[in-house]
Subunit: 436 residues, 2 copies
């Protein structure tokens, strides 16, 4: 499938063959729905063999994938895309090997489908079973990272679902190469045609139409920046699993061990600045403003981090730029850190609950009661005591993989692995039972 | 709060005090959000005492509630509302007692908040805990049944949430009386003000604004007919838990024991026709068309049920009206039953997967393999072998109560009790851990 979008006389975007994007997506949806009924019935062995074949296909076609990715990266460089985004887009042999190993790790995970969630007998003798079943058809809309293509396809397949993938224009060549490799390998291993599909149109319209394909999709998972997530929330008629916007905070309490606090802040900002679990705002207890803060600020500046501070932070570290109200809301995804001096733990909690996106929040403290209070009072998917926010990740948490990090409260919250891609069904066994 | 809607010069609906409906709802949302942070911290004992006080308030104020309900019922009769809907609207001392006992039953249930979902230690020594936490603020939009007011308030409170209730115009007087009784009792028992609120405006606009109150609501639960559910799916920016539209089927297989099949069909149609788990279409294996079908048809007709059959069903029972394509889609909620003769179990499964709403589906059979095939292949929240669809209910399933019956696949599917009103949070305990 290779199509070009162009405006039709009626104002609808038409495909080369005369089909509108909606028609193309409805056809992809129909095929996915039919495939999903068959994928749901595949045995664990069949799915695992397909996953292993998909991993091998990535290795075998590494050259093609890297060549396609090089085209995408060159294009992004030409458009002066920020360095952190280029990092997310770029593939290399190690990252392709990591994708392949990710698929193998998914194959090694227990199959969630058919697993009992609960089983009990009612007073009237009827037996109630609650069992895990696939969701059906999953729609994914995601931005630059091409590894999501392989990760999402593998997890959806293992959980018995069909998936329709719609990546970004920046990564289109990479995504085509990856999807072609894994979809072909899966089909040759017995997975029904249409279980893994890429939307080969990266217009805004294709994203909007996919969001409204509730006739065929059971869930929509947007992965990307705040704009994409908000567009999905505003426009989707498909149930949405919100993911990924991470305005993450670290609060360094007066009781913090200074060296640990420094190590955690440097790690959370620098280890990979372009991802959602990187820290964006540092909250510092006022007792540390004159001592620890200048030290960590110097180390951050040495590493090229731009600091934007509140009035009190700038009194302690005059080289900081001034932070505006807007900075407290920002997910920089870059070498920038907002810094605010706070009076108390409660002020830190209030700041986080007011400005945070409910992703990952950390306290550094050696005080037992303050650690407990922080983890109880902060409303977020993951709350840390004395650890870097960078651990919020399905692999790190031992889930085997990750389809995204949910920042909503329904269905799944935090890193989502296989179980988040399933639903449940009640099976009730009676013997002529009627309700009195 | 007693307000009347009227069109303003700017085309926005204004309140008596000059506030728009959006402003009123935003204020209710702000109050609910503030209350939710406190409700989340109430102990189980505090919540249980409040629930018991709420139950007692319903009993103490039975006269007032019945008087208010009589006004609603008289109004509905004047507007020639169908009898099944009048049944849903009508309260009597038994139903009020059932509401009170429902609240006491919720008090007796284990508190889901703080319960561990999982806990494990990572290779690096960090401890990961996944614990249940309240959702926050729940929005409920529901149609005629006034008992939902008490049920929803009780369940939301027990799960540590604040709730904003928006009932129908038909039940406004009943809902006001119930909400006033229970909200006052809860507050006197220590529940923060604003934890239980009623939207005192039953315009379409108030429903639409509530659906878009994502700044303050964590979840929206619409309970009612297909029109309401669709409006929520189309318009909501708040995550929606779809509930309740039940186009339920019973398939009577050739291997069915005739007496059990008859009893199940009569029960599922007649025990309470106006509710979502009543059967709407009967699918009959062709081998029974000339024998069992005329018998059950006669018994249904005796009870006043109108039958609408396919061609083959009408050949067996000529008194049936003809069914149109539309009938296969209908949730009658009344004494009407569609009847279709099918060639096989697979044809029954295909019919159900094509026309069903994924609510409750039953097979009557004495054949082991066909029972297994039906429960595996039918895609629905609850699938029965040899039992009435009328059992799909939180109380019947032993959940203690029910906030609604989810017909979507995310978060919760089937009868939803307390757990469906919670989310989870990861708490990660480290000792200076950073990501390598």
């Amino acid at each position: 499938m290779s199509v070009t979008a162009s405006a039709s006389p009626r104002g609808e975007t038409e495909k080369a063959g005369g089909e509108t994007i909606r028609e193309v997506l409805e056809e992809q949806g129909r095929v996915a729905r039919a495939a999903a009924r068959k994928v749901a019935l595949l045995s664990t062995d069949q799915k695992n063999k397909a996953l292993q074949a998909m991993a091998q296909a990535l290795r075998d076609q590494q050259e093609d994938i890297l060549a396609a990715n090089a085209v995408d990266v060159a294009g992004a460089r030409e458009r002066d895309v920020p360095s952190a985004l280029i990092d997310r887009l770029t593939l290399n042999p190690d990252r392709i090997e990591a994708m392949a190993e990710g698929l193998e790790a998914v194959a090694a995970l227990p199959d969630p489908v058919g697993r009992g969630v609960g089983q009990w007998r009612l007073a009237n003798g009827m037996e109630v079973q609650q069992v895990r079943v696939p969701l059906g058809v999953v729609g994914m809309i995601y931005e630059a990272r091409p590894n999501v293509t392989a990760d999402a396809a593998g997890l959806c397949l293992k959980a018995g679902n069909a998936v329709i993938l719609r990546g970004s224009g920046e990564a289109l060549n990479s995504n085509r190469a990856i999807c072609q490799a894994i979809a072909k390998a899966a089909e040759e291993a017995g997975v029904p045609h249409g279980a893994i599909q890429l939307v080969d149109d990266v217009s805004r319209e294709s994203a909007l139409e996919l969001m409204r394909l509730d006739k065929y999709l059971d869930v929509l998972i947007p992965r990307g920046g705040a704009g994409l997530i908000r567009a999905a929330v505003e426009n989707a008629t498909v149930p949405v699993l919100e993911t990924g916007v991470g305005n993450c905070h670290i609060y360094v309490d007066e009781s913090a061990e200074p060296d640990k606090a420094t190590a955690i802040v440097l790690n959370a900002k620098l280890q990979r600045p372009g991802v959602c679990n990187a820290v964006e705002t540092l909250l510092v207890h006022e007792s540390l403003a004159g001592s620890w803060l200048p030290e960590v600020a110097a180390k951050l500046a040495e590493q090229g981090v731009e600091l934007r501070g509140c009035q009190r932070a700038r009194e302690a570290v005059p080289t900081m730029l001034p932070a505006s109200e807007d900075d407290w809301h920002r997910e920089y995804l870059d070498l920038i850190l907002a810094v605010r001096v706070v009076d108390s733990l409660d002020a830190a909690v209030d700041h986080i609950n007011a400005y945070g996106t409910g992703h990952s929040e950390a306290i550094v403290t050696s005080d037992y009661r303050r650690a407990r209070r922080f983890v109880d009072a902060v409303d977020a998917a993951v709350v840390y005591a004395n650890a870097s926010t960078r651990f919020t990740d399905g692999f790190q948490f031992g889930l085997g993989a990750e389809i995204g990090i949910s920042t909503q409260k329904l269905h799944a919250r935090g890193p989502m692995g296989l179980e988040a891609l399933t639903s449940t069904k009640y099976v009730v066994l009676g013997d002529g039972h009627v309700r009195p």
